[in-house]
């Protein structure tokens, strides 16, 4: 079994409304020195695959087909082998 830990963020060129809202909130709470907040998604997917190469291929397929909208989002992932 594999666990993919997937981090998804809006592409840098796209304005991040949730990040902006958090920045504003932090400012009203009196936090100075916070430069930027970006808000994205974190996904953990546990799945079967015979080996790492197959697992890599599978994560990418899942991300591109469902989990991530690559028109607006970028993702990175990290694969961990886990006990079934």
């Amino acid at each position: 079994m594999w666990r993919a830990e997937i981090k998804v963020l809006l592409k840098p060129s796209i304005l991040d409304p949730q990040g902006q809202a958090a920045e504003k909130a932090l400012a009203t709470m009196g936090y100075t020195g916070v430069d930027r907040v970006r808000v994205g998604k974190y996904l953990e997917v546990t799945f079967n695959a015979p080996d790492r190469t197959a697992a890599e291929a599978k994560v990418q397929e899942l991300c591109n087909r469902l989990l991530v909208n690559t028109v607006i989002e970028d993702y990175t992932y990290h694969l961990v082998e886990v006990a079934p």
């Binding site: 809202a21 504003k24 009203t28 709470m29």
Partner: protein
């Protein structure tokens, strides 16, 4: 069992003795748990039951009064309205987004359980002052939670109310109301009937969440209060459950049905069995669980959301499962209806609990706690008006009142709600009452929720009366005929005699108002123990009211519509500043008696206003409430940015009473001059005082008192103050 075993679960020593008596033996751990949740205040109403019996609950239209999941009133055309209000205060204090969301989810289930399609949501919210950071967080998250659930499930949130007061700082109130529509012949009840009938559990899988939520609702909040695992609302699953259940009920496939809320499966099986005079055999191994290894105790007490319990005829069983499957939901037959009145709970065949169903419900303890008039009333009752200086500048008082978050526009809130879903909203939030049409008929419903808890604090009996009268006035000003109410009674600990006195007085006040206004109580909710660190909230009996428009297009709104119309005040103004927003905001006093309310006069006012609206005499109607005449007229100018010139005669009143006093049974109307005689005839018949006080027009609001210009501001400036009252506190 040792005393600490039952005490830890919130049971008293004498209650434990009662349990032994009911069982004829010592309970085991699971049985004790089941008793503890069912005998919690939240489920058993043990401190309120006796008092609630005094409500007027019958009327020609009432199909279902209190006692079921929601009340039902007939509206003709073979249709009925089903509605109820419910609190979710403590969960919202701990996790405001999910607390509010699951509050909405819970009340929606109560409505479709009855066979009604939910068509509208309302809410009633109380927080501490917005100047506090934690309050701002709670407020924003509660609003987001209501939106997150209501918007996703596709039920419009069309109204509500919000107040801010220090008494709610540590214990906010989140009450949600849902209104549904059903054909009278599709009314379903939460009864287990038909010996041998299968019992089906459907919807979400059962997890370990919300264990002990009912008990958590039944203690005061303090630093040490142990919150149960938070439930996360799943509006998507609820939407599927709603459609599946309505499909089954519509086809006549359901004998009895009940949602799972507080006390989860324990509550559903015991209530259904005891209402049906039956028992149930349940096999817990058949319950679809979210996690492995859940114990019988966890399964019976879990408060996982979005679940329903159904009793169906054996020949329908397979079909019922097929419908749930088609909607993508799990369902399982977990037991049968039996005739011996016992709940027999098994795990893999072995009996793990065996309790007479009634002992958990009807035979729960009933208490008649001591009541004592609160001592604070001695110091608040007197309001020496002479000691209150009249302000020099009424303009700035009006601006301050309009900007007070209690009176200011709530648009920041309701803009986040999808109030247009179902394409039936004729009047959305921001008016006196919401109006929704009923497709396929000419009819419409007017809906509102109201309570001025400061009044109730200063005089629980009169204050509660006023809450009912104000709700009815809002319905009437919108063109509806008040039909019935649901009540959300939020109080401190009933074990304190002064709180219990407030509670009894409030119930008596509501009862009197409902009798005179002919709006029976069809159901409601009691939430006690609303205290933080020993301090109780103001007694807050929220009145949710439903009104009927035979012709939905004959609704009315507060905004002035045309320049040159007459502005008319119905009702009498007195030197009544007690409990007013003006007194609290400008003079820093929560003091005096609330304004007097004569219910017969109130009723006469309603008849007058309704007749005027139905005869098409008036172009706008707005009731006077917090902020009095000046604030009400200002609000009338906002909708179409149409000003007015108002001329008042002071008589022997104080100017501040005249402008900002909150005397009851008053309404401001606007109408074309030629309609005045007809209106005067109506008012004269009902002996309702009528004064022409001004004319609409221009872009300023000018109020003259005895010829002196007391208020003179542009509508735009007043409107901005009112619009910004809430957003200016938020990031």
């Amino acid at each position: 069992m040792r005393p600490e075993d039952w005490r830890k679960l919130g049971l008293r020593d004498d209650e434990y003795d009662r349990i032994k008596e009911a069982l004829g033996r010592e309970p085991n751990h699971l049985e004790l748990g089941m008793f503890s949740v069912m005998w919690s205040e939240h489920c058993s109403y043990k401190h309120s039951k006796a008092v609630l019996k005094t409500f007027p609950t019958t009327g020609p239209r009432v199909l279902q009064g209190p006692g079921e999941n929601a009340g039902v009133v007939e509206i003709g055309d073979g249709l009925a309205v089903c509605f109820k209000i419910e609190s979710h205060n403590h969960p919202s204090a701990v996790e405001p987004y999910q607390g509010a969301a699951t509050g909405a989810g819970g009340i929606i289930r109560d409505i479709f359980t009855m066979g009604a399609r939910p068509i509208a949501l309302l809410n009633s919210l109380r927080f501490g002052p917005l100047t506090d950071e934690r309050v701002r967080y709670l407020f924003a998250q509660v609003v987001a939670g209501i939106a997150g659930y209501g918007n996703r499930i596709g039920i419009p949130t069309v109204g509500g109310e919000i107040y801010f007061d220090p008494c709610y700082q540590g214990n906010p109130l989140v009450n949600a109301m849902c209104v549904g529509l059903l054909k009278t012949d599709q009314l379903r009840l939460g009864k287990a009937t038909g010996i041998g009938n299968p019992v089906i559990l459907a919807g979400a899988r059962t997890g370990r969440d919300g264990m002990g939520g009912a008990s958590f609702a039944s203690v005061e909040l303090s630093e040490e209060t142990q919150a149960p695992d938070i439930q996360v609302g799943d509006p998507f699953t609820e939407k599927l459950l709603l459609e599946a259940c309505l499909e089954l009920i519509g086809r006549g496939d359901v004998e009895g049905i009940q949602d799972l809320g507080a006390a989860g499966l324990t509550c559903a099986v015991s209530e259904m069995a005891s209402r049906g005079g039956t028992g149930m055999e349940i096999e817990l191994a058949k319950v679809p669980c979210r996690e492995e290894g859940m114990t019988p105790y966890e399964i019976m007490l879990s408060e996982s959301q979005e679940r329903m319990l159904l009793v169906v005829a054996p020949e329908k069983e397979a079909k019922v499962h097929a419908v749930f499957k088609r909607w993508g939901l799990t369902s399982a037959t977990i037991g049968r209806v039996t005739e011996d009145g016992m709940l027999r709970i098994r795990m893999h065949g072995a009996v793990v609990a065996e309790i007479p169903a009634r002992s958990l419900t009807e035979d729960a303890p009933v208490y008649h706690p001591e009541a004592k008039e609160p001592t604070y009333l001695k110091s608040t009752a007197d309001l020496p008006l002479a000691a209150i200086a009249e302000p020099a500048d009424y303009d700035s008082v009006l601006l301050k009142l309009l900007a007070s978050p209690n009176l200011a526009s709530k648009e920041w809130v309701w803009r986040q709600f999808d109030y247009l879903a179902r394409t039936s909203t004729l009047v959305g939030p921001g008016s006196d009452a919401a109006v929704i049409r009923i497709r396929g008929t000419k009819k419409g419903l007017a809906l509102t929720a109201d309570c001025n808890s400061r009044y109730v604090y200063l005089d629980p009996y009169e204050g509660a009366k006023i809450a009912v009268a104000e709700a009815a006035r809002n319905i009437v000003c919108s063109g509806g005929e008040p039909l019935a109410i649901t009540d959300g009674l939020n109080f401190g600990s009933p074990e304190k005699p002064e709180i219990y006195w407030q509670f009894r007085q409030a119930v008596a006040g509501i009862s009197e108002a409902c009798r005179v206004l002919e709006t029976p109580v069809t159901g409601g909710n009691v939430s006690f123990y609303n205290e933080a660190n020993g301090e109780a909230i103001y007694p807050t009996p929220i009145i949710g009211m439903v009104g009927l428009l035979e012709d939905a297009t004959q609704y009315c709104t507060p905004s002035f519509k045309a320049a040159g119309d007459l502005v008319v005040l119905l009702g009498e103004t007195y030197d009544e500043l007690g409990g007013s927003e003006y007194l609290a905001l400008i003079h820093g006093r929560v003091q005096g008696k609330p304004p007097a309310l004569d219910l017969a006069k109130e009723k006469a006012l309603h008849r007058t206003v309704l007749a005027a609206i139905r005869q098409g005499l008036v172009r706008s109607a707005h009731d006077l409430s917090e902020g009095g005449l000046a604030v009400a007229v200002a609000e009338c100018t906002f909708g179409n940015q149409l000003g007015a010139v108002v001329e008042l005669a002071r008589g022997d009143l104080r100017t501040d009473s005249l402008l900002f006093g909150e005397s009851q049974s008053r309404v401001v109307l606007s109408l074309p001059p030629e309609k005045l005689p007809a209106l005067q005839t109506l008012a004269a018949q009902e002996k309702v005082p009528l004064r022409v006080i001004g004319r609409t027009g221009g872009d300023r609001l000018q109020i003259f008192v005895d010829g002196n210009r007391s208020i003179d501001r542009s509508v735009a400036e007043l409107h901005t103050a009112w619009q910004e009252g809430i957003p200016c506190h938020l990031p």
